[in-house]
């Protein structure tokens, strides 16, 4: 039994495995399949100040090595998130740190969700600022691919809350290190990466886009090497904790991310294929560390 605990800017996780935003709902959806208290942390689907209908359908397409999605951040809005028994009230009853992923169409809206959550801090371990969603017209990736905009969003959220902040970075930039540094300079306590990579798929028989939004974000095993490289580059640029993700399916994948520099590892698309993989990854990491005579998982972080 290795020590799997990791420390993320003062938030202690019992193991490094975190659910990736948008792939685990608000936790309750999977609660009869997975004992939530075994997870390192739960990151919920992106929450905005207003209820959001999301994009037209079809919203997803299976592609070689993964899938494309353009859900468009459908969510019930901050009021329902705070008060409806299926969301925050449920999560408060679960013995597992919760990261609330937030987004808005403007800088002010990001700050608005953050200040609402600041007042409702009980049961919230950190906020994850999504400046990297490729599937919405305003907000999202528009903030995450412009250093000035990214800094504005993070600073505004920083001013609105003292909760630990994670900034979720987009892979759609040339120099990820610049964005990692920018987020940290603006007050982010941690960073997470990568969000999905913009892609497209066409049905050649019907000559239609396979996703109504035309473009969608690529996730799944095919993006892992890109994600590992970006985590490695971000690790060179900043000292703060990094949550690495993109295509993780196995314990070996998670260990690879940690060696590249991640302090914790997000699992997303793999949950769709196998919800139980979350537990298999945690148990597999433990077994791998034992096999290699490593007592503390933290000792492999950023060894490359």
């Amino acid at each position: 039994m290795a020590d799997l605990r990791v420390d993320l800017a003062g938030v202690t996780l019992r193991n490094p495995i975190v659910t990736a935003s948008g792939t685990f709902g608000y936790g309750k959806e999977y609660s009869s399949l997975i004992p939530l208290e075994r997870l390192g942390a739960i990151t919920v689907k992106g929450v905005s100040p207003f209820p959001s209908a999301g994009n037209p359908t079809p919203r997803t397409a299976e592609v070689y090595g993964g899938m494309l999605n353009a859900i468009g951040l459908q969510n019930p809005g901050i009021d329902a998130f705070i008060s409806h028994p299926d969301y925050l009230p449920f999560l408060r009853s679960v013995d597992c740190p919760v990261f609330v992923n937030i987004w808005g169409r403007t800088v002010e809206q990001y700050a608005e969700v953050a200040s609402r959550l600041e007042q409702e801090r009980k049961g919230i371990a950190a906020l994850e600022i999504n400046i990297s969603c490729p599937n919405i017209k305003e907000g999202g990736i528009a903030f995450g691919t412009d250093l000035g905009q990214a800094a504005k969003v993070v600073s505004a959220v920083r001013a609105a809350t003292s909760l630990p902040l994670i900034t979720k970075l987009s892979p759609n930039v040339t120099r990820i290190g610049d964005f990692a540094r920018c987020a940290v300079d603006a007050g982010s306590d941690m960073i997470s990466l990568i969000n999905t990579i913009p892609g497209m798929a066409i049905d050649i028989e019907t000559r239609t886009f396979r996703i109504a939004n035309r473009t969608g974000g690529l996730s799944g095993p095919g993006i892992k090497p890109v994600a590992v490289r970006m985590v490695y580059e971000a690790r060179q640029a900043v000292k703060v904790p990094i949550i690495g993700m993109g295509g993780v399916r196995t314990a070996e994948d998670a260990i690879e991310f940690m060696m590249a520099g991640a302090n914790a590892v997000g699992v997303g698309t793999a949950i769709f294929s196998n919800p139980h993989c979350l537990l298999d990854i945690i148990d597999g990491m433990d077994a791998w560390l034992d096999r290699h005579g490593i007592a503390d998982v933290s000792s492999i972080i950023g060894v490359m």
């Binding site: 959806e29 999977y30 899938m67 859900i71 459908q74």
Partner: protein
């Protein structure tokens, strides 16, 4: 007792029924025990590593004594093609039972089932669990597309067939049979599963007759448990545009016809 389970289910039989339709019997007692008519299982495709998403299939039948859970699938693509090659002893990873399922037919109303394609499989347990055998109307392009005739007859159901090419039963649409059946019954309870165009026509007919129906919708899915918002359909709602997106996998797949917002 959890409401859904992930299990490894050994294949007992995997046999071609007719044309591109196959019946797959699995050993999955824990899911069979929980299954309600109209619910589905989410099936992982083994070995197809590049096909990462599960495939949803309606629970056709369960045998609580043997723990057998059966589905009927049509080969439409790579995943279902792959399923057809699996043999007894191979193991499938199942998630289920998922979705809300049909309301059981009430004692005091005659049940009418309208099915197209795999819809026969999706509604079979509803007929089996009905207080009295319902009227079953099955439509298809041709007689090879009509599934489970004998099974419904064995339950004592009054069975009517419609084919587009006239190769069996009524030459025309199954919805024409529905109009006739409704005319002959006072206040029937209608349940349907089939292609979208059929379900839309069923909605129009029941609305015209001042009754409602329960429709099982088919939408591409990812998680199957309500977490990802991939599978949404437009449902009437008190919003500026008159509708809101609902998740087929958890709020459905069965919806009231009167709730659906048809584009």
């Amino acid at each position: 007792m959890p409401d859904k389970i992930q299990v490894s289910a050994p294949i007992l039989h995997n046999q071609r029924l007719q044309k591109d339709y196959y019946q797959l019997d699995l050993s999955a007692a824990s899911i069979a025990k929980l299954a309600k008519p109209g619910q589905f299982v989410h099936v992982q495709l083994p070995e197809l590593q590049h096909r990462i998403l599960r495939r949803p299939f309606s629970i056709f039948n369960v045998d609580l004594d043997s723990g057998c859970l059966s589905i009927i699938y049509k080969i439409v693509g790579e995943g279902t093609e792959h399923l057809s090659k699996l043999a007894p002893g191979d193991v499938l990873d199942l998630l289920g039972p998922l979705g809300n399922g049909y309301t059981l037919f009430p004692k005091n109303r005659k049940g009418i089932i309208v099915a197209g394609g795999y819809g026969s499989a999706a509604t079979y347990l509803l007929a089996k669990n009905a207080p009295a055998p319902p009227v079953v109307l099955i439509g298809g392009r041709s007689k090879d597309d009509i599934l489970l005739q004998d099974d419904f007859k064995r339950l004592g159901c009054e069975l009517k067939i419609a084919t587009n090419d006239g190769s069996a039963g009524h030459h025309g649409m199954v919805t024409e049979l529905l109009t006739q059946a409704i005319a002959k019954t006072s206040n029937p309870a209608v349940a349907a599963c089939g292609p979208n165009a059929m379900l839309k026509a069923v909605s129009e007919i029941v609305e015209k007759n001042g009754i409602d129906a329960e429709l099982s919708l088919d939408h591409a899915m990812c998680c199957g448990v309500g977490a990802c918002f991939a599978c949404v359909v437009k449902r009437k709602a008190d919003t500026p545009n008159g509708w809101a997106y609902s998740r087929t996998c958890i709020d459905g797949p069965v919806f009231k016809a009167s709730e659906i917002w048809w584009d």
